[in-house]
């Protein structure tokens, strides 16, 4: 088997740990989201939510717990969307020429970037989970050790597939762009609708029809659904509504993410294959 994508992976991780400030800020930033946005919002939302009683046997969770899945998803989205950026820098000022001249299938470049995206995202997700639990996020409430292990595994599986999809997308864009400024612009343009047209911070049922359809096609919504299923449970109530996610729903969401990352993989592969760096 061709394992040269590990060279690409090794080098990208090398950069990840080398830039200490960047590393630190990428770990602290999501925690700050939880601490400030989460706590501020939950203190107002929970005042409304608790007035509506949940049905018998359905666990009720606070807003902080509800939005924690959103923060994990958002962080993975940001990290992954900027994950391909190094290709652009390498293309303009660095190693990409060396890489392109190597007798190696171009798919290795895409796979290496993907693997490094998974690693970074899983590290971040782990940190947010831990920090969230400290802050009072009620994830894994009353889980047996076995169920806990499966839940954490499930979350990481969702984070990984989701991260792959956006790292591939980001790599495809990066290798086609000329300037980091342009790339920055596209990324900013993308993150806004992806993040807000989703169920990360609020339920989508009350959305206008068009926005609701958009959010259902949004990979971020599927990601959030998956995390909530594993971390809170198939059925729970929050902010005055009941959320139900059957195992079929879960599989549909996972399938959607797999499809998304397959498509972006093919896109990235194509862009890397036609790319000329001289």
């Amino acid at each position: 088997m061709d394992r040269r994508f590990l060279a690409i992976y090794w080098r990208d991780m090398l950069r990840y740990v080398r830039f200490r400030t960047l590393l630190l800020s990428s770990l602290v930033q999501p925690a700050l989201w939880l601490a400030f946005f989460g706590i501020a919002m939950s203190s107002s939302f929970d005042a409304i939510g608790t007035q509506v009683p949940s049905g018998p046997g359905i666990p009720q969770v606070g807003y902080l717990t509800f939005m924690c899945a959103g923060v994990i998803s958002m962080t993975t989205l940001f990290t992954s969307l900027f994950g391909g950026m190094s290709l652009l820098f390498d293309k303009n000022w660095g190693l990409l020429r060396e890489v392109m001249a190597a007798p190696m299938p171009r798919s290795n470049i895409v796979l290496g970037m993907g693997l490094s995206g998974i690693t970074k995202s899983c590290i971040q997700a782990g940190i947010i989970l831990a920090f969230g639990l400290l802050l009072g996020v009620r994830f894994f409430d009353g889980y047996s050790p076995l169920r806990l292990a499966m839940a954490v595994g499930g979350i990481f599986a969702f984070v990984s597939v989701f991260a792959l999809g956006f790292v591939f997308l980001s790599s495809a864009i990066a290798i086609s762009m000329e300037s980091p400024e342009g790339m920055q612009g596209i990324m900013t343009l993308l993150t806004m609708p992806i993040f807000f047209a989703s169920n990360a911070l609020y339920p989508v049922e009350a959305f206008p029809e068009a926005l609701r359809l958009l959010s259902m096609a949004n990979p971020l919504s599927h990601m959030v659904t998956g995390i909530r299923y594993f971390a809170i449970g198939p059925e729970f109530s929050a902010i005055g509504r009941t959320f139900v996610c059957s195992s079929t729903d879960l599989l549909v969401s996972f399938g959607a993410l797999c499809l998304f990352s397959t498509l972006t993989f093919l896109f990235a592969l194509h862009r890397v294959r036609v790319a000329r760096v001289t």
């Binding site: 394992r3 090794w10 830039f19 190693l95 060396e98 007798p103 190696m104």
Partner: protein
């Protein structure tokens, strides 16, 4: 070992409607140092980019180390090492990491990568810089590291695109020493340069390339000998009359203007013996000599002879600017 390390036949390359390389053919023998000499924008980088697979082969046939570039590009890639014109190092990797990354990229076995990296660090004398980040290296050190990187896979041919561009004279001289060492160890070297002294001092054979075509190809000595034995530079009070007198002498093979007030005379015999005779003839016809110089032809003169302009001519520069942007 193949008879020719590099064989190029009828190579052409165009960018949109600009012909950057026009029907170029040449061959490089194993163990040779072969130079492409020409002004910026002459098409040197395009040729090297096609040969190293960074640009597609549009027209022509290229065989490197016995592998056809069109049908076996990956085997060509495995057989060559490249030092690019611009620095292509990651500023935030160390010297050792840079070499290890390259070895892994080419799928070399782990132990071999370490061993080879250590060997090359010593070859280019960067032992004390092993764990230093690239951004803290000097320009010359970066170039040496790039040469070491190009040699990681023990290539049969090392391609270098303008290897000493932007380096100070001492560093350039040292670079040439490294390249001679590498060549002595059996690596064939193909380099492009716009420095006359570099091509002259380093190469076994030179191809002079201008506007996408090879206009002369030979050993440095024969290229210079073809111009005649010596060059005589004269400044006189009446260059027009002087020219007529000079051209009447059987030893004079060419006279042309040089600079605002000078004449450059090519002679086919030893200049020190011809000049007294020429001076007598000039004096007899009433031409007064203001200045005189005798020299052996340089690669610079060879270039001017073949292209009609110096390497730093305005024309060459603006042509370079037009091509350089789309290289």
């Amino acid at each position: 070992m193949p008879e020719d390390m590099i064989r190029v036949e009828g190579l052409s390359h165009r960018f949109d409607d600009l012909v950057a390389v026009d029907d170029v053919s040449f061959h490089v023998r194993p163990g040779e140092v072969f130079s492409f000499l020409g002004p910026n924008g002459a098409g040197k980088s395009t040729v090297i980019n096609v040969l190293t697979t960074l640009l597609p082969l549009q027209e022509g046939r290229v065989v490197i180390a016995g592998f056809d570039l069109r049908t076996e590009p990956d085997r060509v890639r495995s057989a060559i090492g490249i030092v690019f014109q611009e620095v292509t190092l990651d500023r935030d990797m160390t010297v050792t990491e840079t070499l290890l990354f390259h070895g892994r990229l080419y799928g070399l076995p782990r132990d071999e990568v370490r061993e080879r990296a250590e060997e090359l660090v010593r070859l280019v004398e960067l032992e004390t810089k092993r764990d230093v980040l690239v951004k803290h290296l000097s320009g010359g050190m970066k170039r040496r590291l790039e040469i070491a990187r190009g040699l990681m896979t023990r290539p049969a041919v090392l391609f270098l695109d303008e290897p000493t561009i932007g380096l100070d004279p001492q560093t350039r001289a040292r670079m040439w020493d490294y390249l001679r060492d590498v060549n002595r160890d059996g690596t064939t070297i193909f380099l492009t340069t716009h420095y006359m002294d570099e091509a002259d001092g380093l190469s076994d054979r030179i191809a002079i390339i201008d506007r996408g075509r090879i206009i002369a190809e030979d050993t440095p000595l024969d290229l210079k000998n073809a111009l005649g034995r010596d060059l005589v530079y004269l400044e006189t009070t009446d260059n027009g009359r002087a020219r007529a007198v000079l051209e009447a002498d059987p030893a004079v093979t060419g006279v042309r203007e040089k600079g605002p007030a000078g004449l450059l005379v090519t002679v086919s015999e030893d200049g020190t013996r011809v000049v007294p005779r020429l001076l007598d003839a000039l004096r007899e016809s009433g031409v007064v000599i203001d200045g005189l110089n005798i020299k052996k032809p340089s690669m610079d003169d060879v270039f001017i002879h073949h292209t009609g302009r110096a390497l730093r001519d305005e024309g060459a520069e603006s042509f370079a600017a037009a091509v350089g942007r789309r290289r």
